[in-house]
């Protein structure tokens, strides 16, 4: 199944190449002239495939949404289409027989059984084909065989839609929101309304639809278009939604807001009568924070994050193209609504007290904002290739956090500085041999391996390439990828080719091996030795026939020679440095291209060789075991562990004092 998916992706790439030229409006954004990849053409708009004009009416007591509206869909494939596919993802929460609920996935979010189930019921789907309306819903198929999943509906058409033809559909439906499970639902009067409307699956260039049930670990993949959504809620409710508010008024005790956004592939909204609001324009983007009372400090931290993130991501991956961004901090009772991404709307999270130095709020905020790029602007197939959005975004998150907060980007507290990249590396290390990174979300055996490999392993692979090949080259490569595939739907091959072209063929190969073949690496200092250089001892006859004896203890040159044997285990090839530490304290670094299985690094110095360290700068974060990255020569002492003894003694004294004061 994976091979088939790969083959299909290759086909999609080939076909998309043509589509990109035809559909993408390529222009260089002049404001990005300081960015390293600013010269790479970047589409200003996607090819518009589907436009939704919807109206949603919320009943916050029954937790229902009544929806109606129109969908204008264009067949942008090369083939006539005689059947539509529609995602009804709210039905994932209809019962325990849905694909979402029955997935045997632990170790990740969204495993709670909802207290109240959720449904989406399409009442009517009409194709206004000229003067003749066709009722499509009676022939729609929600289930296949004995499968009770109703998240992926097929809709036969009375006639085929020709390539390039646009059809208009009228739709009426009703949602019953679940209690918050994951991503969507309600908690009291708080409503997070996502995956809430009948949504057409993405049409591929060959005329097939990329349709799939709502899986526990993957959901996003859709065509770009315009969303024009009117939200109707009780007057007391504050609304946050994808897109700019173009109309807003109160009528008969109801707040009616119209949100319009071009060039996006999804629409989500939230409504709550207890939201507090903070607004600030950052880098030309109107940022709004919606948060519960008492979370003012969090709101400020989220704004501070955006003050850094918007220009940083703009320089790295191209300017954020939308005029607004809404950040929703859900209430404490709805943590599963937090940490999610939708176009121009993200949800953050965190309990009411998180001390400064614990950068959780900043990290979640920057991660979800990063999805505006790696999911939103670069519309990859999350279910098929989850690493392309979560993985690349986790790399971008760690890179940005390090650029902002330094080495304590995850935690900077009590003198301890923990890096986000280092955290990813450690998390990923334990799962490196379990599964491939590049595989569909539904292929992962556990949520833990999905999280560690998709998020952390990908981030670690990319961070390793950044450290090994240099920050500027990495900026150039990732920047080129993000710009070239803006408003496109790239596949893994596009990423690998970008690395091959922009960074190096070797880097591309490392990326491919690490993603597709469980590529791994472990450097080890196997052995080292050195000795004093003497003049040769023994009996020597000179030209005149004179004989002289040079004893072994004579002729000491004051020089030492030796070697260090470094071994590379694993399948990846990465250049690395080997540091030679002399007894007199001198340190010398010798580069090794890492192409062979081992290398014997020669040593020459004025004192014996004391120790050796491979990768002293810790560039290869993929290295499986850094405990074997060094060795000390026989008879030589290492640095010991005096700091540990000091700290452990001190803490023991304090603890004993606290236990028995």
């Amino acid at each position: 199944m994976q091979a088939r998916a790969l083959a299909m992706s290759v086909l999609v790439v080939a076909l998309c190449g043509t589509m990109r030229i035809a559909g993408a409006d390529s222009s260089v954004d002049a404001s990005q002239s300081d960015a390293i990849a600013a010269d790479v053409p970047m589409a200003a708009h996607p090819e518009r495939v589907v436009d939704y004009t919807l109206r949603a009416t919320l009943d916050p007591t029954l937790h229902t949404v009544h929806g109606e509206g129109t969908i204008a869909w264009k067949n942008v494939s090369s083939q006539p289409v005689s059947q539509l596919w529609m995602h009804l993802y709210l039905n994932a929460f209809k019962n325990q027989s849905s694909v979402f609920m029955r997935a045997p996935i632990g170790g990740f979010r969204g495993t709670t059984i909802p207290k109240e189930w959720g449904t989406i019921d399409v009442r009517k789907l009409t194709w206004k084909d000229g003067a003749e309306p066709h009722e499509l819903w009676p022939t729609a198929q929600l289930r296949r065989g004995d499968d009770f999943d109703e998240t992926d509906a097929s809709i036969p058409l009375p006639r085929a839609v020709a390539p390039g033809e646009t059809i208009d559909l009228a739709v009426v439906w009703d949602d019953k929101l679940p209690s918050i499970v994951e991503r969507t639902g309600f908690d009291g009067s708080f409503h997070m309304v996502a995956q809430w409307f009948p949504k057409l699956a993405k049409i591929e260039p060959d005329g097939t639809f990329a349709h799939f049930p709502f899986h526990h670990l993957g959901e996003f993949y859709a065509d770009y278009g315009k969303y024009d959504v009117t939200v109707d809620v009780p007057e007391a409710f504050v609304v946050g939604a994808t897109g700019t508010v173009t109309e807003s008024h109160v009528e008969a005790g109801r707040r009616i807001e119209r949100h319009v956004q071009d060039d996006v592939h999804d629409f989500a909204w939230t409504a709550w009568d207890k939201f507090q609001t903070r607004k600030e324009t950052i880098d030309g983007v109107a940022c709004t924070i919606l948060f519960p009372a008492g979370y003012e400090d969090h709101a400020e931290r989220e704004l501070a994050t955006m003050r850094f993130a918007l220009p940083h991501y703009g320089a790295r991956y191209g300017k954020y193209p939308y005029p607004l961004l809404t950040l929703v901090h859900p209430p404490a009772g709805a943590p599963e609504a937090g940490g999610m991404e939708y176009p121009t709307l993200i949800t953050t999270g965190g309990s009411s007290y998180i001390p400064n130095g614990v950068n959780l709020i900043e990290l979640v905020t920057i991660h979800e904002f990063g999805h505006q790029y790696f999911y939103g602007l670069i519309g990859t197939h999350e279910t098929q290739w989850p690493f392309l959005d979560e993985g690349l975004n986790s790399y971008a998150e760690a890179e940005a956090m390090a650029a902002w907060k330094g080495r304590g980007s995850f935690l900077d507290l009590l003198g301890l500085k923990v890096g986000d990249s280092e955290g990813h590396a450690e998390r990923a290390r334990h799962f490196a041999h379990d599964d491939r990174v590049a595989q569909p979300a539904y292929a992962y055996g556990t949520g833990s391996s999905y999280g560690a490999l998709v998020y952390s392993r990908t981030a670690t692979i990319l961070e390793t390439l950044r450290r090994v090949y240099g920050d500027k080259l990495m900026q150039r490569t990732m920047g080129a990828y993000a710009r070239r595939f803006r408003f496109q739907h790239p596949v893994p091959r596009d990423l690998i080719e970008t690395f091959q072209n922009e960074m190096s063929a070797e880097a591309g190969e490392v990326l491919r091996d690490a993603l597709f073949d469980k590529g791994w690496i472990d450097f080890k200092v196997e052995a080292l030795s050195s000795h004093a250089v003497h003049a040769a001892a023994g009996i020597f006859d000179d030209k005149d026939g004179k004989r002289a004896t040079t004893p072994a203890e004579h002729g000491v040159s004051g020089k030492y020679e030796g070697w260090v044997l470094v071994v590379r285990r694993g399948t990846l090839h990465l250049p690395v440095e080997v540091e030679l530490v002399s007894e007199d304290g001198a340190r010398t670094r010798v580069p090794w291209d890492g192409t062979t299985d081992s290398v014997r690094v020669p040593y020459v110095g004025t004192s014996p060789l004391r120790a050796a360290i491979v990768d002293p700068e810790q560039r290869v974060l993929l290295d499986e075991d850094s405990e074997n990255d060094f060795a000390t020569a026989p008879g030589q002492a290492g640095g010991g562990a005096p700091r540990t003894l000091e700290r452990a003694t001190y803490w023991s004294q304090l603890l004993m004092g606290a236990l028995a004061p």
Partner: protein, 314 residues
């Protein structure tokens, strides 16, 4: 001959040797407690030319690798350390008893000057204080265990009550404000636990003083009786002086927290440095611990001064 001191004569500053003794004992046991983790770190990272400096490096990669290995080292080290800590907490009742005895009693010292021979009460010999500490060990250990259990129960109840109130108020106040209420309520329970600790300390003072008096009079009571008498004296003292006692404890606790802050700033400043910086950090940390031991002695001197009149009135 050990003579009980009058309340106004009980001062920690007059007993530097006893304070130093407790400090040295705690340091010695702390080195024992630190041995497993130190041995583990030395085994894995001691051979690195930079030693365990890599564990303190910003980014904390090696620290996470070290702690994240899939072997039993972390579990074994953690459990051993906890057991050693618990044993130490009990064992330290012995030097603690000696310290309190040293604070509570004086030894007759005769000096001669131009006006003739004078007798005053000096610090008791360490051996004599230790003897009282030994006789008071069992009741002190039982008091320590019972006092800790009582405080933990109060904290547990506080946690449950605060959590329940938090959930009740969330809808009305919002979760941030209800969390604040939760913290405040829990802090109130923590204050109760602290007051229990103060009463237990009064009891410990009374127990040591009782043991010293028994030793001086040549009588001996079962440990359980000594402890019960100590508790009764502490409760009686609390009825009249709990406010003063709590105030005395709180002031010294605040100073103790300030000392901890100094220790934190020092560790933050020196990070994973070695050599002279590490020596300096060790010195600062030990000064912090010594200061805290002195504060503890000062507090126990205050406790002794409060229980002495009540005890002598019996």
């Amino acid at each position: 001959m050990m003579t009980p001191l009058a309340p106004r004569s009980i001062h920690a500053r007059k007993r530097p040797v006893a304070i130093a003794f407790v400090f040295v004992m705690e340091l010695a046991w702390a080195l024992v407690v630190a041995t497993p983790v130190h041995a583990w770190a030395r085994r894995v990272w001691g051979g690195h030319p930079d030693g365990d400096a890599v564990l303190f490096a910003p980014g904390a990669r090696e620290l996470m690798v070290w702690l994240g290995q899939n072997d039993a080292a972390l579990a074994v080290t953690a459990r051993t350390t906890i057991v050693l800590l618990a044993i130490g907490a009990v064992l330290m009742q012995l030097p603690f008893g000696a310290l309190v005895a040293s604070l509570a009693f004086g030894r007759e010292v005769r000096t001669e000057d131009a006006d003739g021979e004078r007798v005053h009460l000096g610090a008791p010999r360490l051996r004599g204080a230790l003897q009282i500490g030994v006789s008071a060990f069992l009741p002190l250990a039982v008091l320590f265990v019972l006092g800790s259990v009582a405080s933990l129960i109060v904290l547990l109840l506080g946690g449950l009550a605060a959590s329940a109130l938090d959930h009740t108020l969330t809808e009305a106040l919002g979760d941030a404000r209800s969390f604040t209420v939760r913290v405040v309520l829990f802090a109130m329970f923590a204050a109760v636990a602290a007051v229990i600790g103060v009463v237990v300390d009064l009891a410990r003072a009374a127990v040591v003083r009782e043991s010293g008096l028994s030793a001086a009079s040549g009588t001996a009571s079962p440990a359980w009786n000594v402890m019960l008498r100590g508790v009764r004296i502490a409760l009686k003292t609390s009825r009249s002086s709990l406010g003063r006692a709590t105030l005395g404890w709180t002031g010294r606790t605040v100073v103790g927290i300030a000392l901890l802050a100094i220790g934190y700033v020092a560790a933050d400043t020196f990070g994973g440095s070695g050599g002279l910086s590490l020596t300096l950090l060790f010195g600062i940390h030990q000064a912090v611990v010594l200061g805290r031991v002195a504060l503890r002695a000062s507090w126990m001197a205050r406790a002794l001064a409060l229980v002495a009149p009540v005890q002598d009135a019996r």
